[in-house]
Point group: C2
Chain length 298, copies 2
Amino acid sequence: MLLNRLGEFGLIKRIRKSIKYYDPSVIKGTGDDCAVLALDKNNYQLFTCDMLVEGVDFRHNEDPYLIGRKSLAVSISDIASCGGSPRYCLVSLSVTKKTSVAFADKFLRGMLDLAKKFKINIVGGDLTRSSQLAIDVSMLGSVEKKNLVLRSGAKNNDIIFVTGSLGGSISGKHLRFTPRVKEARFLVENFKINAMIDISDGLLQDLGHILEESGVGATVYEELIPLSKQAKNLKDALYSGEDFELLFTASPAEAKKILKLKPGISRPIGEITNAQGLRLIDKRGRQDLIKHKGFTHF
Amino acid sequence: MLLNRLGEFGLIKRIRKSIKYYDPSVIKGTGDDCAVLALDKNNYQLFTCDMLVEGVDFRHNEDPYLIGRKSLAVSISDIASCGGSPRYCLVSLSVTKKTSVAFADKFLRGMLDLAKKFKINIVGGDLTRSSQLAIDVSMLGSVEKKNLVLRSGAKNNDIIFVTGSLGGSISGKHLRFTPRVKEARFLVENFKINAMIDISDGLLQDLGHILEESGVGATVYEELIPLSKQAKNLKDALYSGEDFELLFTASPAEAKKILKLKPGISRPIGEITNAQGLRLIDKRGRQDLIKHKGFTHF
């Protein structure tokens, strides 16, 4: 049986079942945007990795500066999703026979510029060769214990929020987005955020991850979903990946406080329910129980 | 200009020059087997990654169990080189259209078995697809501050040692080796080891890294080099990669103590000199000043 019959998330479930932890210092292993490890009295360490491959995550003729930038940005976004600050990373890079020095220089410049912006220390890496350009960035961050947010904390009646706007990322945003570290840190420092994830595989699929890990359902209102200028239509905003916006939930009391902020940081799009499943309400009030789906790699 | 004209180590130098650290918690960034980060009063954290690609690090028809095993083993070996213990890792895996569920299961089993042996927590990862199987493992370990060993600590008159025997790894050892964690821990806990590296690119090339980082030279005696049964000849032991044995140096006084151990753990092969360069002495006493070289990826 080929892996594509099992699917990406089928394989992930299979892996998660067979993994054992040998140490109570593993606060959260697989199943979230980052692994969470014991660090010191007040802080956890966050640990995450993301692999980008030519033809999947970027085109082969893409600006190398933007490829380098994105390689770092996706992992920074994972650290932000857990409420943390990025600190160190390693870069594994597989180049092809045709890769030029000019490409490597621009790629590196894209990485270094984003690393500088977030004060991230690129402390090492590995170089190899293959027939397709591939980059894997592994990143360490830290978060105060009280500010850690996981996918699993959503509660009945929580309000669901997103930052920014959604859809059409493929037209360029996926290469140019600024990871929402500032926004995530502002949220966790000022409010009680119950669950959070970054939207990498599409709004509905990533909301699905929160629902699954939290054991809850959700109702989402189509007319509340903030469409980006690049979004082709609502479907694009619901299903397409790589928006890298934050999706989070907070209790109604906390939500009231968040809503008092000047607009722009985040908008409510629905609520968490005890009833399982994801219900999408259209503009006429019609309800559709949908299977959450979005981008998968295989 | 294509990257292969600059070469793997040329590119590494170029990258190292342009990287900045924003934080005194970076004890050692690029340029060693692991990055070294501040952890707590008595310990450092070690952080390393290794990318393995089909056709470079293993054949496409290789036993998936051994591919999984090796993916973890090479990073464990890096942690051992710094004197540390491996603790956590992430696994990025890029599969092809033809990858089967059976392959994934065996691959995972190879990883899990080695993780169990060393009590390493596999705390997450990333899945994607490409035309060539690729695996990147990033690993965290820890080491007592007093036991940290880097490439840069070799001193004039140090004796150079290797563990095990060298050469012929391509016939199978590169897939089946047990990383020298036990041996490295024994060495750092009982002796003052000045410099250490694991032999991944060939004895002379990896010794060259120690010399370069330490600003010293070395004399190596051909007749002292322990050849493995699989080694074709001396050249094979000197230049071919993936032995994953430890190469380390210690002062003559410490070396005497190490030599009193029951044989088998490590053997002396030469000494560190103030004179720059790497001199190889053959069985007739003839001296050859060699350019250190070995495996490079491009």
